[in-house]
Protein backbone atom coordinates (compact mmCIF):
# COMPACT_ATOMS: atom_id res chain seq x y z
CA UNK A 1 0.00 0.00 0.00
CA UNK A 2 1.26 3.43 -0.94
CA UNK A 3 0.01 6.98 -0.57
CA UNK A 4 1.91 9.68 -2.45
CA UNK A 5 1.97 13.40 -3.13
CA UNK A 6 2.17 14.36 -6.81
CA UNK A 7 3.06 17.46 -8.81
CA UNK A 8 -0.21 19.31 -8.20
CA UNK A 9 1.25 20.09 -4.78
CA UNK A 10 4.00 22.30 -6.19
CA UNK A 11 3.54 25.83 -4.89
CA UNK A 12 0.70 25.15 -2.41
CA UNK A 13 1.78 24.72 1.21
CA UNK A 14 -1.82 25.11 2.40
CA UNK A 15 -0.76 21.96 4.30
CA UNK A 16 -4.33 20.89 5.06
CA UNK A 17 -2.91 17.41 4.54
CA UNK A 18 -0.42 17.84 7.37
CA UNK A 19 -3.05 18.91 9.90
CA UNK A 20 -5.00 15.64 9.54
CA UNK A 21 -2.11 13.19 9.44
CA UNK A 22 -2.15 11.09 12.63
CA UNK A 23 1.48 10.03 12.39
CA UNK A 24 3.26 13.13 11.03
CA UNK A 25 4.77 11.45 7.99
CA UNK A 26 4.88 14.47 5.62
CA UNK A 27 8.26 15.89 4.63
CA UNK A 28 8.82 19.13 2.77
CA UNK A 29 11.28 20.96 0.57
CA UNK A 30 10.88 24.52 -0.73
CA UNK A 31 8.45 23.38 -3.40
CA UNK A 32 6.21 20.62 -2.19
CA UNK A 33 5.53 17.79 0.24
CA UNK A 34 6.33 14.07 0.19
CA UNK A 35 4.96 11.14 2.20
CA UNK A 36 7.16 8.66 4.03
CA UNK A 37 5.40 5.37 3.42
CA UNK A 38 7.50 3.60 6.02
CA UNK A 39 5.57 5.63 8.61
CA UNK A 40 2.24 6.33 6.83
CA UNK A 41 -0.59 4.14 8.16
CA UNK A 42 -2.61 4.45 4.91
CA UNK A 43 -5.55 6.08 6.66
CA UNK A 44 -6.30 8.20 3.55
CA UNK A 45 -7.30 11.17 5.72
CA UNK A 46 -5.08 13.50 3.72
CA UNK A 47 -6.60 12.66 0.32
CA UNK A 48 -9.98 14.43 0.56
CA UNK A 49 -8.63 17.52 2.35
CA UNK A 50 -6.04 18.45 -0.27
CA UNK A 51 -7.56 21.36 -2.18
CA UNK A 52 -5.86 20.41 -5.46
CA UNK A 53 -6.17 16.60 -5.34
CA UNK A 54 -2.42 16.13 -5.28
CA UNK A 55 -2.54 12.97 -3.14
CA UNK A 56 -3.32 9.51 -4.49
CA UNK A 57 -3.27 6.01 -3.06
CA UNK A 58 -2.64 2.57 -4.52
CA UNK A 59 -4.47 1.72 -7.72
CA UNK A 60 -5.96 5.23 -7.92
CA UNK A 61 -2.51 6.59 -8.76
CA UNK A 62 -2.79 7.67 -12.41
CA UNK A 63 -0.44 5.88 -14.81
CA UNK A 64 1.39 9.12 -15.68
CA UNK A 65 2.02 9.90 -12.00
CA UNK A 66 3.42 6.58 -10.89
CA UNK A 67 6.96 7.98 -11.10
CA UNK A 68 6.06 9.95 -7.97
CA UNK A 69 6.12 6.74 -5.90
CA UNK A 70 9.93 6.63 -6.09
CA UNK A 71 10.24 10.39 -5.73
CA UNK A 72 8.21 10.33 -2.50
CA UNK A 73 10.27 7.44 -1.16
CA UNK A 74 13.56 9.19 -1.85
CA UNK A 75 12.71 12.77 -0.96
CA UNK A 76 10.88 11.92 2.27
CA UNK A 77 14.02 10.23 3.62
CA UNK A 78 16.20 13.24 2.82
CA UNK A 79 13.95 16.02 4.14
CA UNK A 80 12.71 17.15 7.57
CA UNK A 81 9.23 16.28 8.82
CA UNK A 82 6.62 18.98 8.86
CA UNK A 83 3.87 18.42 11.38
CA UNK A 84 2.18 21.80 11.74
CA UNK A 85 0.11 23.92 9.42
CA UNK A 86 2.20 26.44 7.49
CA UNK A 87 1.49 29.63 5.61
CA UNK A 88 0.67 28.97 1.96
CA UNK A 89 3.41 29.75 -0.52
CA UNK A 90 3.01 33.04 -2.40
CA UNK A 91 0.73 32.51 -5.41
CA UNK A 92 -0.87 29.38 -3.94
CA UNK A 93 -4.43 30.64 -4.45
CA UNK A 94 -3.71 31.59 -8.06
CA UNK A 95 -2.18 28.21 -8.72
CA UNK A 96 -5.19 26.47 -7.22
CA UNK A 97 -7.47 28.44 -9.55
CA UNK A 98 -5.20 27.71 -12.51
CA UNK A 99 -5.46 23.98 -11.77
CA UNK A 100 -9.23 24.34 -11.95
CA UNK A 101 -10.09 23.87 -8.24
Amino acid sequence: MTTIVTDNCKGCRFTDCVTVCPVACFHADDNMLYIDNLVCIQCSACIPVCPVHAIYADDDIPEDKRNWIDINAERSQALPTISDKQDPLPGAEERKTALGF
Binding site: C21, P22, V23, P48, A57, D84
Partner: protein, 460 residues
Protein backbone atom coordinates in the same frame (compact mmCIF):
# COMPACT_ATOMS: atom_id res chain seq x y z
CA UNK B 1 5.93 32.72 43.34
CA UNK B 2 6.93 32.03 39.75
CA UNK B 3 4.13 31.53 37.22
CA UNK B 4 3.22 27.95 36.28
CA UNK B 5 5.51 26.50 33.64
CA UNK B 6 8.78 27.29 35.41
CA UNK B 7 11.28 25.02 37.15
CA UNK B 8 10.14 26.10 40.62
CA UNK B 9 6.47 25.84 39.64
CA UNK B 10 6.00 23.21 36.94
CA UNK B 11 2.76 23.43 35.00
CA UNK B 12 0.62 20.47 36.05
CA UNK B 13 -2.00 19.37 33.59
CA UNK B 14 -4.46 16.49 33.86
CA UNK B 15 -5.53 15.06 30.51
CA UNK B 16 -8.76 13.08 30.89
CA UNK B 17 -8.94 10.26 28.35
CA UNK B 18 -6.19 8.22 26.68
CA UNK B 19 -7.54 8.31 23.12
CA UNK B 20 -5.91 10.09 20.17
CA UNK B 21 -6.89 13.58 21.28
CA UNK B 22 -5.51 12.98 24.78
CA UNK B 23 -2.18 11.79 23.42
CA UNK B 24 -1.87 14.64 20.91
CA UNK B 25 -2.62 17.13 23.72
CA UNK B 26 -0.03 15.48 25.96
CA UNK B 27 2.54 15.63 23.17
CA UNK B 28 1.86 19.30 22.46
CA UNK B 29 2.27 20.12 26.16
CA UNK B 30 5.44 18.09 26.60
CA UNK B 31 7.01 19.67 23.52
CA UNK B 32 5.91 23.20 24.39
CA UNK B 33 9.21 24.21 25.98
CA UNK B 34 7.50 24.91 29.32
CA UNK B 35 8.40 22.97 32.45
CA UNK B 36 5.36 20.74 32.51
CA UNK B 37 4.06 17.51 34.05
CA UNK B 38 1.26 15.68 32.27
CA UNK B 39 -0.89 13.11 34.04
CA UNK B 40 -3.21 11.22 31.72
CA UNK B 41 -6.26 9.83 33.48
CA UNK B 42 -8.07 7.00 31.71
CA UNK B 43 -11.08 5.11 33.00
CA UNK B 44 -9.97 1.78 31.52
CA UNK B 45 -6.72 -0.05 32.33
CA UNK B 46 -6.04 -0.02 28.56
CA UNK B 47 -5.18 3.21 26.76
CA UNK B 48 -5.78 4.31 23.14
CA UNK B 49 -9.55 4.91 23.18
CA UNK B 50 -11.30 4.24 19.89
CA UNK B 51 -8.10 3.25 18.12
CA UNK B 52 -8.21 0.13 20.27
CA UNK B 53 -11.98 -0.14 20.72
CA UNK B 54 -13.44 1.51 17.60
CA UNK B 55 -11.17 1.09 14.57
CA UNK B 56 -12.05 -2.23 12.96
CA UNK B 57 -9.89 -5.28 13.76
CA UNK B 58 -9.47 -6.06 10.06
CA UNK B 59 -7.74 -2.69 9.56
CA UNK B 60 -4.54 -3.42 11.51
CA UNK B 61 -2.50 -0.84 9.64
CA UNK B 62 -4.71 1.96 11.03
CA UNK B 63 -4.19 0.68 14.53
CA UNK B 64 -0.49 1.45 14.06
CA UNK B 65 -1.32 5.01 15.13
CA UNK B 66 -0.84 3.41 18.55
CA UNK B 67 2.92 3.23 17.89
CA UNK B 68 3.01 7.03 17.89
CA UNK B 69 1.10 7.17 21.19
CA UNK B 70 3.37 4.57 22.78
CA UNK B 71 6.32 6.89 22.08
CA UNK B 72 4.50 9.84 23.68
CA UNK B 73 3.75 7.68 26.74
CA UNK B 74 7.50 7.19 27.13
CA UNK B 75 8.36 10.91 27.12
CA UNK B 76 9.82 12.28 30.37
CA UNK B 77 7.26 13.95 32.69
CA UNK B 78 4.35 11.91 31.32
CA UNK B 79 2.38 9.62 33.64
CA UNK B 80 -0.59 7.39 33.02
CA UNK B 81 -3.25 6.94 35.68
CA UNK B 82 -5.27 4.16 34.10
CA UNK B 83 -8.30 2.43 35.59
CA UNK B 84 -9.37 5.81 37.04
CA UNK B 85 -12.71 7.30 35.95
CA UNK B 86 -13.17 11.03 36.43
CA UNK B 87 -16.56 11.56 38.02
CA UNK B 88 -16.43 8.13 39.72
CA UNK B 89 -13.01 7.67 41.33
CA UNK B 90 -12.00 11.29 41.42
CA UNK B 91 -14.09 14.45 41.04
CA UNK B 92 -13.53 17.38 38.72
CA UNK B 93 -13.30 19.54 41.88
CA UNK B 94 -10.36 17.46 43.08
CA UNK B 95 -8.62 17.69 39.71
CA UNK B 96 -9.01 21.46 39.77
CA UNK B 97 -7.45 21.52 43.24
CA UNK B 98 -4.40 19.48 42.20
CA UNK B 99 -3.77 20.74 38.65
CA UNK B 100 -3.35 24.11 36.98
CA UNK B 101 -5.37 22.91 34.03
CA UNK B 102 -7.57 19.97 33.05
CA UNK B 103 -8.01 18.96 29.41
CA UNK B 104 -11.03 16.75 28.76
CA UNK B 105 -10.34 14.40 25.87
CA UNK B 106 -12.92 11.83 26.90
CA UNK B 107 -14.55 11.21 23.52
CA UNK B 108 -18.19 10.68 22.62
CA UNK B 109 -19.09 7.40 24.22
CA UNK B 110 -22.81 7.01 23.63
CA UNK B 111 -25.10 6.81 20.60
CA UNK B 112 -27.55 9.28 19.26
CA UNK B 113 -31.06 7.89 19.02
CA UNK B 114 -33.13 7.64 15.87
CA UNK B 115 -36.20 8.60 17.89
CA UNK B 116 -38.54 6.22 16.06
CA UNK B 117 -41.09 3.71 17.41
CA UNK B 118 -39.75 0.22 18.02
CA UNK B 119 -36.15 1.40 18.35
CA UNK B 120 -35.67 -0.64 21.52
CA UNK B 121 -37.12 -3.93 20.29
CA UNK B 122 -34.73 -6.88 20.66
CA UNK B 123 -32.70 -7.21 17.47
CA UNK B 124 -32.38 -3.43 17.07
CA UNK B 125 -28.96 -2.27 18.21
CA UNK B 126 -26.64 0.68 17.99
CA UNK B 127 -23.45 0.39 15.99
CA UNK B 128 -21.56 1.54 19.11
CA UNK B 129 -22.57 -1.53 21.09
CA UNK B 130 -21.66 -3.91 18.29
CA UNK B 131 -18.34 -2.21 17.51
CA UNK B 132 -17.33 -2.09 21.19
CA UNK B 133 -18.37 -5.74 21.60
CA UNK B 134 -16.37 -7.14 18.67
CA UNK B 135 -13.39 -5.03 19.73
CA UNK B 136 -13.52 -6.49 23.26
CA UNK B 137 -14.45 -3.34 25.22
CA UNK B 138 -14.94 -4.40 28.88
CA UNK B 139 -18.22 -2.42 29.19
CA UNK B 140 -19.75 -4.56 26.44
CA UNK B 141 -18.28 -7.94 27.39
CA UNK B 142 -21.56 -9.32 28.67
CA UNK B 143 -23.62 -8.20 25.66
CA UNK B 144 -24.81 -10.82 23.26
CA UNK B 145 -26.03 -10.41 19.73
CA UNK B 146 -28.51 -12.82 18.22
CA UNK B 147 -27.09 -13.35 14.74
CA UNK B 148 -29.63 -16.01 13.80
CA UNK B 149 -31.55 -13.71 11.43
CA UNK B 150 -30.73 -14.06 7.73
CA UNK B 151 -31.42 -10.44 6.91
CA UNK B 152 -29.71 -7.53 8.65
CA UNK B 153 -29.92 -3.78 8.05
CA UNK B 154 -27.49 -0.97 8.83
CA UNK B 155 -28.75 2.60 9.01
CA UNK B 156 -26.10 5.10 7.90
CA UNK B 157 -23.60 5.27 5.05
CA UNK B 158 -20.41 6.41 6.66
CA UNK B 159 -17.32 4.63 7.76
CA UNK B 160 -18.69 3.13 10.96
CA UNK B 161 -21.48 1.60 8.87
CA UNK B 162 -18.83 0.24 6.50
CA UNK B 163 -16.97 -1.37 9.42
CA UNK B 164 -20.10 -3.04 10.81
CA UNK B 165 -21.01 -4.19 7.33
CA UNK B 166 -17.62 -5.82 6.73
CA UNK B 167 -17.63 -7.61 10.06
CA UNK B 168 -21.05 -9.09 9.24
CA UNK B 169 -20.10 -9.81 5.64
CA UNK B 170 -16.77 -11.51 6.18
CA UNK B 171 -16.37 -15.19 6.95
CA UNK B 172 -14.73 -16.22 10.19
CA UNK B 173 -11.70 -17.34 8.18
CA UNK B 174 -11.26 -13.78 6.99
CA UNK B 175 -11.38 -12.43 10.56
CA UNK B 176 -9.62 -15.04 12.68
CA UNK B 177 -6.11 -13.65 12.21
CA UNK B 178 -7.13 -10.17 13.45
CA UNK B 179 -7.33 -8.90 17.04
CA UNK B 180 -11.13 -9.29 17.06
CA UNK B 181 -12.36 -10.45 20.49
CA UNK B 182 -12.65 -14.19 20.90
CA UNK B 183 -16.27 -14.03 22.09
CA UNK B 184 -17.19 -12.09 18.94
CA UNK B 185 -15.40 -14.53 16.67
CA UNK B 186 -17.30 -17.42 18.31
CA UNK B 187 -20.63 -15.68 17.86
CA UNK B 188 -19.86 -14.68 14.26
CA UNK B 189 -18.98 -18.31 13.49
CA UNK B 190 -22.63 -19.13 14.22
CA UNK B 191 -23.98 -16.14 12.28
CA UNK B 192 -26.71 -16.91 9.77
CA UNK B 193 -26.71 -13.40 8.30
CA UNK B 194 -26.74 -13.67 4.49
CA UNK B 195 -28.11 -10.34 3.38
CA UNK B 196 -27.01 -6.93 4.67
CA UNK B 197 -28.99 -3.84 3.68
CA UNK B 198 -27.05 -0.59 4.00
CA UNK B 199 -29.47 2.31 4.11
CA UNK B 200 -28.68 5.93 3.27
CA UNK B 201 -30.90 8.96 3.65
CA UNK B 202 -29.54 10.66 0.55
CA UNK B 203 -28.31 9.47 -2.84
CA UNK B 204 -25.23 7.68 -4.11
CA UNK B 205 -23.52 11.01 -4.79
CA UNK B 206 -23.87 12.03 -1.13
CA UNK B 207 -22.76 8.79 0.59
CA UNK B 208 -20.14 9.54 3.25
CA UNK B 209 -17.92 6.52 2.66
CA UNK B 210 -14.27 7.12 1.88
CA UNK B 211 -13.30 5.73 -1.53
CA UNK B 212 -11.11 3.13 0.04
CA UNK B 213 -13.78 1.73 2.33
CA UNK B 214 -16.44 1.65 -0.36
CA UNK B 215 -14.11 -0.08 -2.77
CA UNK B 216 -13.31 -2.63 -0.07
CA UNK B 217 -17.04 -3.45 0.33
CA UNK B 218 -17.21 -4.18 -3.37
CA UNK B 219 -14.22 -6.53 -3.32
CA UNK B 220 -15.00 -8.89 -0.42
CA UNK B 221 -14.09 -12.51 -1.20
CA UNK B 222 -17.30 -14.09 0.05
CA UNK B 223 -19.85 -11.30 -0.30
CA UNK B 224 -21.41 -9.57 -3.30
CA UNK B 225 -22.26 -5.86 -3.25
CA UNK B 226 -25.47 -4.99 -5.05
CA UNK B 227 -26.54 -1.58 -6.35
CA UNK B 228 -29.83 -1.11 -8.20
CA UNK B 229 -29.03 0.52 -11.57
CA UNK B 230 -32.13 2.71 -11.12
CA UNK B 231 -30.52 4.29 -8.07
CA UNK B 232 -27.72 5.52 -10.31
CA UNK B 233 -30.08 7.76 -12.26
CA UNK B 234 -29.08 10.91 -10.40
CA UNK B 235 -31.04 14.16 -10.23
CA UNK B 236 -29.67 17.23 -12.03
CA UNK B 237 -28.34 18.79 -8.81
CA UNK B 238 -26.37 15.65 -7.96
CA UNK B 239 -24.92 15.55 -11.47
CA UNK B 240 -23.92 19.19 -10.99
CA UNK B 241 -22.24 18.24 -7.69
CA UNK B 242 -20.09 15.74 -9.52
CA UNK B 243 -18.85 18.44 -11.88
CA UNK B 244 -17.30 20.33 -8.94
CA UNK B 245 -13.63 19.49 -9.10
CA UNK B 246 -13.06 19.52 -5.33
CA UNK B 247 -15.84 16.94 -4.91
CA UNK B 248 -13.53 14.21 -6.19
CA UNK B 249 -14.30 11.78 -3.37
CA UNK B 250 -17.98 11.64 -4.34
CA UNK B 251 -17.07 11.39 -8.02
CA UNK B 252 -15.02 8.31 -7.27
CA UNK B 253 -17.72 6.86 -5.00
CA UNK B 254 -20.31 7.22 -7.76
CA UNK B 255 -17.90 5.56 -10.16
CA UNK B 256 -17.57 2.61 -7.75
CA UNK B 257 -21.36 2.39 -7.24
CA UNK B 258 -21.89 2.45 -11.02
CA UNK B 259 -19.42 -0.38 -11.51
CA UNK B 260 -21.25 -2.42 -8.85
CA UNK B 261 -24.61 -1.69 -10.49
CA UNK B 262 -23.25 -2.87 -13.83
CA UNK B 263 -21.70 -6.01 -12.34
CA UNK B 264 -24.70 -7.37 -10.44
CA UNK B 265 -24.56 -10.48 -8.24
CA UNK B 266 -21.72 -12.94 -8.86
CA UNK B 267 -23.04 -15.83 -6.76
CA UNK B 268 -21.09 -15.29 -3.54
CA UNK B 269 -22.71 -16.69 -0.38
CA UNK B 270 -23.49 -13.28 1.19
CA UNK B 271 -24.82 -10.03 -0.24
CA UNK B 272 -24.60 -6.36 0.69
CA UNK B 273 -27.49 -4.37 -0.76
CA UNK B 274 -27.16 -0.60 -0.91
CA UNK B 275 -30.29 1.51 -0.45
CA UNK B 276 -30.46 5.20 -1.22
CA UNK B 277 -32.99 7.94 -0.45
CA UNK B 278 -34.62 6.03 2.39
CA UNK B 279 -34.99 6.81 6.11
CA UNK B 280 -36.20 4.44 8.82
CA UNK B 281 -39.48 5.64 10.35
CA UNK B 282 -40.64 2.63 12.34
CA UNK B 283 -39.48 -0.75 13.57
CA UNK B 284 -42.18 -3.35 14.09
CA UNK B 285 -42.34 -6.82 15.60
CA UNK B 286 -43.73 -8.60 18.62
CA UNK B 287 -41.11 -10.46 20.64
CA UNK B 288 -38.31 -9.00 18.52
CA UNK B 289 -37.94 -6.80 15.49
CA UNK B 290 -39.33 -8.26 12.31
CA UNK B 291 -39.75 -5.38 9.97
CA UNK B 292 -38.27 -2.00 9.18
CA UNK B 293 -40.50 0.67 7.68
CA UNK B 294 -38.56 2.97 5.38
CA UNK B 295 -39.78 6.34 4.14
CA UNK B 296 -38.75 7.23 0.61
CA UNK B 297 -36.92 10.52 0.24
CA UNK B 298 -36.21 12.95 -2.53
CA UNK B 299 -33.45 15.54 -2.53
CA UNK B 300 -34.15 19.23 -2.21
CA UNK B 301 -31.87 22.23 -2.41
CA UNK B 302 -28.94 23.55 -4.38
CA UNK B 303 -26.00 21.34 -5.37
CA UNK B 304 -23.80 20.39 -2.37
CA UNK B 305 -26.56 21.55 -0.01
CA UNK B 306 -29.21 18.99 -0.86
CA UNK B 307 -31.24 17.62 2.02
CA UNK B 308 -33.52 14.57 2.15
CA UNK B 309 -37.27 15.17 2.35
CA UNK B 310 -39.82 12.41 2.76
CA UNK B 311 -42.09 11.88 -0.24
CA UNK B 312 -44.87 10.21 1.79
CA UNK B 313 -44.30 6.79 0.23
CA UNK B 314 -42.91 3.94 2.34
CA UNK B 315 -41.25 0.59 1.76
CA UNK B 316 -41.14 -2.44 4.03
CA UNK B 317 -37.98 -4.41 4.70
CA UNK B 318 -38.25 -7.69 6.56
CA UNK B 319 -35.17 -7.99 8.75
CA UNK B 320 -34.37 -9.48 12.12
CA UNK B 321 -31.30 -7.47 12.94
CA UNK B 322 -30.64 -3.75 12.77
CA UNK B 323 -27.64 -1.57 13.55
CA UNK B 324 -28.12 2.17 13.78
CA UNK B 325 -25.01 4.12 12.93
CA UNK B 326 -26.10 7.72 12.98
CA UNK B 327 -23.58 9.35 15.25
CA UNK B 328 -22.12 9.42 18.71
CA UNK B 329 -22.73 11.75 21.62
CA UNK B 330 -20.62 12.74 24.62
CA UNK B 331 -21.41 11.73 28.21
CA UNK B 332 -21.66 14.49 30.85
CA UNK B 333 -19.26 14.54 33.82
CA UNK B 334 -20.45 16.23 37.04
CA UNK B 335 -18.77 19.60 37.46
CA UNK B 336 -18.34 20.29 33.73
CA UNK B 337 -20.86 22.27 31.62
CA UNK B 338 -22.57 20.11 28.98
CA UNK B 339 -24.35 21.04 25.76
CA UNK B 340 -27.17 18.49 25.66
CA UNK B 341 -28.25 19.27 22.12
CA UNK B 342 -24.82 18.80 20.55
CA UNK B 343 -23.64 16.19 23.05
CA UNK B 344 -20.35 18.03 23.71
CA UNK B 345 -18.62 20.12 26.36
CA UNK B 346 -19.21 23.69 25.09
CA UNK B 347 -15.96 25.49 24.29
CA UNK B 348 -14.47 28.63 22.85
CA UNK B 349 -11.06 27.99 21.30
CA UNK B 350 -10.77 24.88 23.46
CA UNK B 351 -11.68 26.67 26.72
CA UNK B 352 -14.76 25.20 28.38
CA UNK B 353 -17.53 27.77 28.82
CA UNK B 354 -20.67 27.68 30.96
CA UNK B 355 -24.27 28.13 29.80
CA UNK B 356 -23.83 31.91 29.78
CA UNK B 357 -20.74 31.66 27.57
CA UNK B 358 -18.30 32.58 30.37
CA UNK B 359 -14.98 30.72 30.43
CA UNK B 360 -14.59 28.24 33.31
CA UNK B 361 -10.97 28.88 34.33
CA UNK B 362 -8.60 25.94 34.01
CA UNK B 363 -10.95 23.61 32.11
CA UNK B 364 -10.31 22.72 28.43
CA UNK B 365 -11.54 20.16 25.92
CA UNK B 366 -10.12 18.45 22.84
CA UNK B 367 -11.21 15.81 20.33
CA UNK B 368 -14.69 14.35 19.99
CA UNK B 369 -15.97 15.76 23.30
CA UNK B 370 -15.12 19.23 21.93
CA UNK B 371 -16.05 18.97 18.25
CA UNK B 372 -18.60 16.19 18.30
CA UNK B 373 -18.03 12.85 16.59
CA UNK B 374 -16.58 14.07 13.33
CA UNK B 375 -13.24 13.52 11.79
CA UNK B 376 -10.79 10.76 11.79
CA UNK B 377 -7.85 9.96 14.03
CA UNK B 378 -5.56 12.62 12.61
CA UNK B 379 -8.11 15.44 12.80
CA UNK B 380 -7.70 15.28 16.55
CA UNK B 381 -4.05 16.26 16.31
CA UNK B 382 -4.63 19.77 14.97
CA UNK B 383 -7.58 20.07 17.35
CA UNK B 384 -5.55 19.17 20.43
CA UNK B 385 -2.67 21.42 19.38
CA UNK B 386 -5.15 24.33 19.17
CA UNK B 387 -6.51 23.60 22.67
CA UNK B 388 -3.02 23.41 24.15
CA UNK B 389 -2.21 26.72 22.51
CA UNK B 390 -5.13 28.32 24.36
CA UNK B 391 -4.02 26.76 27.63
CA UNK B 392 -0.47 28.05 27.22
CA UNK B 393 -1.78 31.52 26.36
CA UNK B 394 -3.71 31.43 29.65
CA UNK B 395 -0.62 30.65 31.77
CA UNK B 396 -0.44 34.12 33.32
CA UNK B 397 -4.07 33.78 34.45
CA UNK B 398 -4.00 30.22 35.78
CA UNK B 399 -3.83 29.58 39.54
CA UNK B 400 -0.33 30.80 40.49
CA UNK B 401 0.34 28.37 43.36
CA UNK B 402 2.29 25.13 42.88
CA UNK B 403 0.21 22.01 42.30
CA UNK B 404 1.09 18.47 43.29
CA UNK B 405 -0.79 16.50 40.61
CA UNK B 406 -0.29 12.75 40.76
CA UNK B 407 1.88 13.06 43.85
CA UNK B 408 -1.30 13.76 45.80
CA UNK B 409 -3.78 12.07 43.51
CA UNK B 410 -1.94 8.73 43.51
CA UNK B 411 -2.13 8.20 47.30
CA UNK B 412 -5.69 9.59 47.34
CA UNK B 413 -6.80 7.01 44.77
CA UNK B 414 -4.92 4.22 46.54
CA UNK B 415 -6.75 5.13 49.75
CA UNK B 416 -10.01 4.77 47.81
CA UNK B 417 -9.01 1.25 46.80
CA UNK B 418 -8.32 2.13 43.16
CA UNK B 419 -5.57 0.09 41.50
CA UNK B 420 -3.97 2.78 39.36
CA UNK B 421 -2.42 1.50 36.11
CA UNK B 422 0.92 3.06 35.10
CA UNK B 423 2.61 2.93 31.72
CA UNK B 424 4.76 0.02 32.97
CA UNK B 425 1.66 -1.84 34.17
CA UNK B 426 0.04 -1.33 30.78
CA UNK B 427 3.14 -2.65 29.00
CA UNK B 428 2.84 -5.86 31.03
CA UNK B 429 -0.81 -6.24 30.04
CA UNK B 430 0.11 -5.43 26.45
CA UNK B 431 2.85 -8.08 26.39
CA UNK B 432 0.50 -10.67 27.90
CA UNK B 433 -2.16 -9.93 25.27
CA UNK B 434 0.33 -10.32 22.44
CA UNK B 435 1.56 -13.61 23.91
CA UNK B 436 -2.02 -14.88 24.22
CA UNK B 437 -2.63 -14.09 20.59
CA UNK B 438 0.42 -15.86 19.24
CA UNK B 439 -0.73 -19.51 19.35
CA UNK B 440 -3.94 -18.46 17.59
CA UNK B 441 -2.11 -16.54 14.88
CA UNK B 442 -3.60 -13.26 16.10
CA UNK B 443 -1.62 -10.04 16.67
CA UNK B 444 -3.08 -10.06 20.20
CA UNK B 445 -5.89 -11.62 22.19
CA UNK B 446 -7.35 -8.76 24.23
CA UNK B 447 -8.33 -9.18 27.84
CA UNK B 448 -11.98 -8.25 27.74
CA UNK B 449 -12.60 -7.86 31.46
CA UNK B 450 -10.99 -5.29 33.72
CA UNK B 451 -10.47 -8.00 36.37
CA UNK B 452 -8.43 -10.08 33.89
CA UNK B 453 -6.19 -7.12 33.11
CA UNK B 454 -5.58 -6.48 36.80
CA UNK B 455 -5.03 -10.17 37.45
CA UNK B 456 -2.26 -10.30 34.90
CA UNK B 457 -0.40 -7.74 37.03
CA UNK B 458 -0.46 -10.12 39.99
CA UNK B 459 -1.10 -9.00 43.52
CA UNK B 460 1.26 -6.01 43.26
Amino acid sequence: MDAPGTVSNPLRVAVVGAGPSGFYAAEALLKSGQTVRVDMIERLPAPYGLVRYGVAPDHPKLKEAILVYAVIARLPHFSLLGNVAVGRDVSVEELRAHYHGVIFACGAETDRRLGIPGEDLPGSHTATEFVAWYNGHPDYRERSFDLSAEVAAIVGQGNVAADVCRILAKSVDELKATDIAEHALDALAESRVREIHVIGRRGAAQAKFTNKELKELGELPSCDAIVDPQDMELNAESIAELEVKSNFVSVKNVEIFRALAARGPTGKPRRIIFHFLQSPVKITGTARMEQLVLARNRLEGAPLQQVARETGETDLLRCGLLFRSIGYSGVPIPGVPFDVRRGVFPTQEGRIVDGGGAVVPGLYAAGWIKRGPTGIIGTNRADSIATVKSLLADLPHLAPETKAGAEVLGPLLAARGVRVISVDDWLKIDTAEVARGQPRGKPREKFTRVAEMLQCLGAS
